[in-house]
């Protein structure tokens, strides 16, 4: 603690000296002129020495707060030439499209740090946030301004919860609220407690907002000094002196799940059956009775409740809450009443972790008094980082330094160092000891700080301990570093994981109670025996209730049976949409169930569904060859439905001239690049495979690697990409034989295997871990890795990018970057007596609107890491990708083709993998190996086709 104080003091002094002179204030952050100019926004941020907000704030720490405020005139806002916009009667600026750019000019009288307040209303859109970047006088003051967001609140569509036929509450439909909101600009991740501030000098300034996800109406903006809430004692004394007294005998119990508004669609009401005191509860039915939990854990997410009090006077606030998902960790909430933080303590209120429900009154034994006038009020709870702010900021910085240290050591020793050799690390990395020492100190200080307050001992800080012990060992003897490198790496990634969980603050609420200080009837539990009786009832009922069937269930054959081979969250998302949108519109009852696998067996037993969603991409053709699937291409309007997809994505579902399925998901490879590591080594992103080889040489000299999917895992890896880039395919026109004996196929195979024989690329690896440490700065993986990296490796944000795969240079000099699909699923209609209904359902399901809503619904449940990889090209734009990401994806997707599926596809993949292994492991000649296996494959294809033909002939004669 003392150490921290000292350092903070030193920093302040240094800054005072810097800022003290008038010349210093204007010449402060030296900004390169070419950062981002409004004329041509660059899609990928170049690594610059732009400060982050923490550094920026520190620079201006000693600046006095300005007295006045500035409200740039909305009427004077200048939209750029391309921006589509209109004006409302009350002066609002409507930006109806996704993108747009608006500039204001305004004059500042007094120098100082200002917060920026925006007044806006969301338009109808599927994007969950308003996203934009901001520029002041042509410069971005700090990195946080590059990606800013405003929340779009959601409200329930109906007043009360709708119940299904068995009395269970259905998840209510929620709609975007278009009410006007006033909010200070904050950082998108909610890392900082206070709103973002910007330093304005006297004179005329220009503020430009560039929207990537707009659909918003702007009503005004205001620069104002930061307002700090006063201490409770002062506020309370003020209220008392104006004659306020305690109310008595009043209690208003608000059901947390019946909120008025919430900041995110993802914050969900939940079904709790763990306590009889949770209101409402019934042992047999699934009733919505709580709010939040893990769906309400991200910084900045808030929920609002409206309530009305009958008497003016002092009230206390209590919550019936539970926090059992983060053991030993307190979670923080900011409490605002009528849009104001009433006093300083309400900036962050801690809710401790406990296994059971508890009732927490703000202020404890002598509750905080809130003065409320008779009439309506609004209460808001918002997640804030509070005391975690400094911890997370410092630990994230430590993490970056640890990763850099690891990388520097690897560059000297390689990833499998020789134990018997002294690498003289202190010579190759001169500042090694200082770096270790300072990391050790910072980590130690953070651990002490955390254990003193927020985290009550236990195992939560064990990751810090592990690193501390190891760093201590390193300091004692730096010669031990090389052979402890592996565990160093895993300790670093454990720390990284832990930091990202630190910023999650889940809290489950049952009720919010506004009450007189002397009255509180809500209890945490209803007593041991009542709770026991309730639990017994719940257990008994669980034998009879079928929790697998959600929503309305129509018995018998009247309903369309739909099977889905995906997770439970996806099922719930889809079920809600089916009940809310498809069933009323088509008046076809639908029974939706989660059935992983077993489709063939069910068809055999005559118990199969009418429609199956998310079946593996080889199933449709396999079933079609045996006459179990309805050819979709024979159904009405098939061609118009196909227009939503890239034609090549339908290739795998074609068999004998007919199409048997429509794709649900499509996943294709993209290349992920650590721009920071490449910049450090002076490399650029390789665009062709030749450049890739050159880059690999430089990286390997530094003991770093490149990862491309190999054929070691039983699939053909990236072979098909090399093949299509040379204009080849697997099969001939008639799909009766392979084309592997052709020169292009052999050439592609040779080049592909060369990467593993000549250039020594790793055969199997964990891409995520190695990308994170920077050991593998370039890698090709499924594009969904993007979401995973974003969600699970926040410390990398801004240090990496996703680009199309490298291409092959053709004879005419053009670069072919075509690639092939890595995985996908489809929707099929099985042989059914109601093909029209089934077709109507499939058409509804694959339509862009449904796919977009479904994707949003899943993301609301699983977070950004669960982003839906839709096959519908229109729907991609409806998912929360930013415009730049969507463009990068679309650029690659347009160049994605597929190999087709034949009934004997199984033999192709396994033998290509066998061929790969024979070349790479046994160093056999690629040409010879491929032609031998091609012969085996062709033989099996012929046998399979004969078998199917024979079957067909016999079937028709019977």
């Amino acid at each position: 603690m003392k150490e921290r104080m000292k350092r903070a003091l030193a920093l302040c002094l240094v800054l005072l000296m810097l800022v003290g002179s008038p010349a210093g204030a204007t010449g402060l952050p030296a900004q390169p002129e070419d950062v981002i100019s409004p004329a041509e926004p660059t899609p990928t941020p170049e690594p610059t020495d732009m400060p982050d907000y923490a550094a920026y704030r520190a620079l201006y720490a000693a600046v006095a707060a300005p007295g006045g405020e500035i409200s740039p005139d909305m009427a004077a806002a200048q939209p750029s030439a391309e921006t589509v916009c209109s004006r409302t009667e009350d002066g609002g600026l409507v930006l109806p499209e996704e993108t747009g750019q608006v500039t204001w000019s305004f004059a500042v009288q007094e120098a100082g740090l200002y917060c920026l307040e925006l007044v806006y209303a969301s338009g109808e859109t599927r994007h969950s946030k308003v996203s934009f970047s901001a520029i002041l006088d042509g410069l971005t003051p700090y990195t946080e301004w590059e990606q800013l967001t405003l929340s779009r609140p959601y409200v329930y569509a109906q007043e009360t919860f709708v119940q299904d036929s068995r009395g269970n509450d259905l998840q209510p439909e929620q709609v975007l609220s278009t009410r006007t909101i006033t909010a200070d600009l904050r950082d998108a991740e909610g890392k900082y407690n206070a709103p973002l501030q910007v330093y304005l000098t006297p004179g005329v300034h220009r503020l430009t907002l560039t929207f990537t996800q707009a659909v918003v109406t702007l009503y005004g903006l205001r620069f104002h000094p930061l307002t700090e809430a006063e201490a409770y004692e002062t506020v309370y004394a003020g209220w008392q002196s104006s004659g306020a007294t305690d109310t008595s005998g009043l209690e208003y119990i608000l059901r947390a799940e019946s909120f008025t508004a919430k900041s995110d669609a993802g914050i969900q009401a939940g079904y709790d059956k763990s306590s009889a005191a949770t209101h409402p509860s019934a042992p047999a039915q699934m009733l919505l009775n709580t709010l939040g939990g893990t769906s309400w854990q991200k910084n900045g997410q808030w929920v609002e409740w409206h309530f009305t009090v009958e008497e003016s006077g002092f009230y206390a606030l209590s919550f019936r809450a539970r926090q059992n998902s983060k053991y030993g960790m307190s979670v923080l909430r900011r409490v605002t009443v009528d849009g104001q933080v009433p006093f300083e303590a309400m900036n962050a209120q801690a809710f401790p972790s406990k296994n059971d429900w508890y009732v927490r009154t703000l202020g404890g034994e002598t509750p905080y008094r809130f003065y409320l006038e008779a009439g309506p009020h609004t209460l808001r709870l918002e997640i804030v980082s509070g005391e975690y702010e400094s911890v997370i900021l410092e630990l994230t910085e430590v993490l970056t330094r640890l990763n850099a240290l690891y990388r520097n050591v690897v560059m000297v020793t390689g990833t499998s160092p020789d134990d018997l050799r002294d690498y003289e690390l202190e010579v190759s990395i001169p500042d090694l000891v200082e770096r270790l020492q300072s990391l050790y100190e910072v980590l130690g200080a953070q651990k002490t700080y955390l254990e003193a307050g927020l985290i009550g001992g236990g195992s939560e800080t064990s990751h810090l301990d592990a690193l501390l012990v190891q760093l201590e060992g390193f300091l004692e003897d730096t010669e031990t570093i090389p052979f402890r490198l592996d565990s160093f790496k895993s300790n670093i990634s454990a720390l990284a994981d832990w930091i990202s969980t630190l910023s999650e603050q889940p809290l489950e609420l049952d009720s919010v109670i506004v009450h007189s200080p002397d009255t509180l009837t809500v209890k945490a539990s209803r007593g041991f025996f009542r709770e026991l009786w309730y639990s017994l009832q719940v257990i008994c009922q669980s034998f009879f209730a079928d929790y697998g069937m959600i929503g309305n269930y129509t018995p018998g054959d009247e309903a369309l049976t739909v099977w889905m081979n995906l997770g439970r969250d996806q099922l719930q998302a889809l079920k809600g949409m089916v009940d809310a949108s498809f069933v009323p519109e088509a008046s076809i009852p639908v029974n939706l169930s989660l059935v992983p696998g077993g489709l063939i067996e069910a068809v055999l037993a005559g118990k199969g569904p009418d429609v199956a969603l998310f079946v593996g991409s080889s199933d449709p053709v396999n079933l079609a060859a045996r006459g179990a699937v309805l050819p979709m291409s024979d159904l009405a309007d098939f061609a118009s439905v196909c227009a939503d997809f890239y034609p090549d994505n339908l290739i795998p579902y074609r068999y004998n001239g007919k199409t048997y399925a429509l794709p649900c998901t499509v996943e294709f490879p993209m290349m992920f690049v650590r721009t920071d590591v490449l910049t450090e080594l002076g490399l650029s992103i390789p665009a062709t495979w030749d450049e890739m080889v050159d880059t690999a040489a430089i990286l390997q000299r530094k003991n770093l690697q490149i990862g491309i999917p190999s054929g070691a895992a039983g699939t053909s890896g990236l072979y098909s990409t090399f093949l299509v880039q040379r204009g080849g395919t697997y099969y001939n026109e008639a799909q009766s034989a392979t084309r592997f004996h052709e020169e292009s196929a052999i050439d592609a195979f040779t080049v592909f295997t060369d990467f593993f024989t000549k250039y020594d690329f790793p055969l199997s690896y964990n891409f995520f871990n190695r990308f994170r440490t920077g050991e593998m700065p370039i890698g090709i993986d499924n594009y969904t890795m993007y979401n995973y990296l974003q969600a699970a490796a926040p410390e990398l944000s801004g240090l990496w990018t996703m680009v199309p795969v490298p291409g092959t240079v053709g004879e005419d000099g053009s670069v072919n970057t075509t690639t092939t699909v890595l995985g996908g699923t489809a929707a099929i209609i099985l042989e059914t007596d109601r093909p029209e209904d089934a077709w109507r359902f499939v058409r509804w399901f694959v339509s862009p609107e449904t796919q977009g809503d479904f994707g949003i619904g899943i993301e609301a449940r699983l977070g950004a890491s669960g982003r839906y990889s839709t096959a519908n090209r229109e729907a991609l734009g409806l998912l929360p990708w930013t415009t730049a990401q969507a463009q990068a994806l679309t650029a690659q997707w347009e160049n994605v083709t597929e190999m087709g599926i034949i009934p004997a596809t199984y033999i192709v993949e396994r033998n290509l993998s066998n061929a790969f292994k024979k070349v790479v492991y046994n160093r056999k000649n690629a040409r010879e190996v491929l032609t031998t296996y091609a012969f085996t494959i062709d033989q099996e294809i012929e046998r399979k086709n004969n078998e199917l033909n024979k079957r067909r002939e016999r079937g028709t004669t019977e």
Partner: protein, 307 residues
């Protein structure tokens, strides 16, 4: 009494049943399950093995074509047959011998120690599919346990793809299978050794048994006939039906079918290739092999122990 003699045999059968109805009632639950889940599947796969059946359409009778294809026109089946034989006649006897040896050793320990060691040896086989941890031990990544160990010791320079290189697959699978096989057979040995009357050893000593080895051969083994036979049956059953270990560790199919057994080949044909008729034919062959080997083992064990 004379009346009962003149009764038709069928009536006599029912009368017998009625007389022992309590016994039959007690057997009924098992008999029903055994019929539904064992006898009927065996019989139906025997029927299906003469057909072409793709799981969706009705089976077509094709005579012996599946059997002809199996032995004359399927190279992969021959590889799988060989692998199955390796498992049955190398892994099986080795693990049988190991089971007995360790049981014999453990039997010498004190009571508390015996319980602990029994648990240690028996634990792998009750731990379900815990053997998948071997996919981490033998991971092809350079950070895999075995690779990193060998690289650290300087024995290898590049990671070995234990689970996908055809030269290592069978070896790895045999190792894991032996580790797994200390199952019911092992327990029955322990029980058998416990159950031998101590007086016999005393009598043996008087009659001139000189060493522990003689004791083992002339006294212990002959008295453990039922356990030996039981363990052998269990061990053979396990060795012939090795499949999950291979496909969980090395994928399905393995590289060049190096580790595939008849069971994985059956699964490949039944589920991936939709050729249930052919899969059934192989299952029938496997079944006959198991029955035949059982008979063989019974005779072998009968040579020096009463079963």
């Amino acid at each position: 009494m004379s009346r009962s003699v003149t009764r038709e045999p069928k009536a006599g059968f029912w009368r017998e049943v009625r007389r022992h109805r309590a016994d039959y009632l007690m057997v009924l639950p098992f008999a029903a399950l055994f019929t539904v889940f064992t006898i009927i599947p065996i019989l139906s796969s025997m029927v299906l093995s003469f057909t072409d059946f793709d799981m969706v359409q009705t089976p077509l009778f094709t005579g012996f074509s599946n059997y002809i294809r199996m032995f004359l026109n399927d190279d992969v089946f021959l590889i799988c047959f060989k692998n199955t034989m390796v498992f049955a006649f190398i892994t099986g006897p080795i693990s049988f011998a190991c089971c007995f040896f360790f049981a014999w050793l453990i039997n010498e320990l004190s009571r508390g120690m015996r319980t602990v060691m029994t648990f240690v040896f028996y634990a792998p086989s009750i731990s379900g599919s815990l053997y998948v941890i071997f996919s981490w031990v033998f991971s092809g990544d350079m950070y895999g346990l075995m690779n990193s160990l060998l690289m650290e010791l300087g024995i290898i320079n590049d990671p070995i793809q234990w689970l996908s290189d055809a030269s290592y697959i069978l070896g790895v699978c045999i190792l894991v299978q032996i580790w797994l096989s200390f199952g019911t057979g092992f327990l029955s040995f322990i029980a058998g050794l416990q159950g031998i009357d101590r007086q016999i050893y005393e009598a043996g000593a008087i009659d001139g048994i000189k060493s522990r080895l003689q004791e083992l051969i002339y006294l212990t083994l002959p008295h453990m006939g039922p356990q030996l036979f039981f363990a052998a049956v269990m061990q053979i059953g396990a060795s012939f039906s090795v499949g999950a270990v291979v496909s969980m560790l090395c994928g399905s199919p393995t590289t060049d079918y190096a580790g595939d057994t008849i069971v994985t080949h059956i699964i490949d044909h039944g589920t991936t290739r939709f050729e249930m008729g052919y899969a059934c034919a192989m299952a029938v062959v496997l079944f006959l092999m198991m029955v035949g080997t059982n008979q063989l083992v019974r005779r072998l064990i009968g040579k020096f122990a009463s079963t």
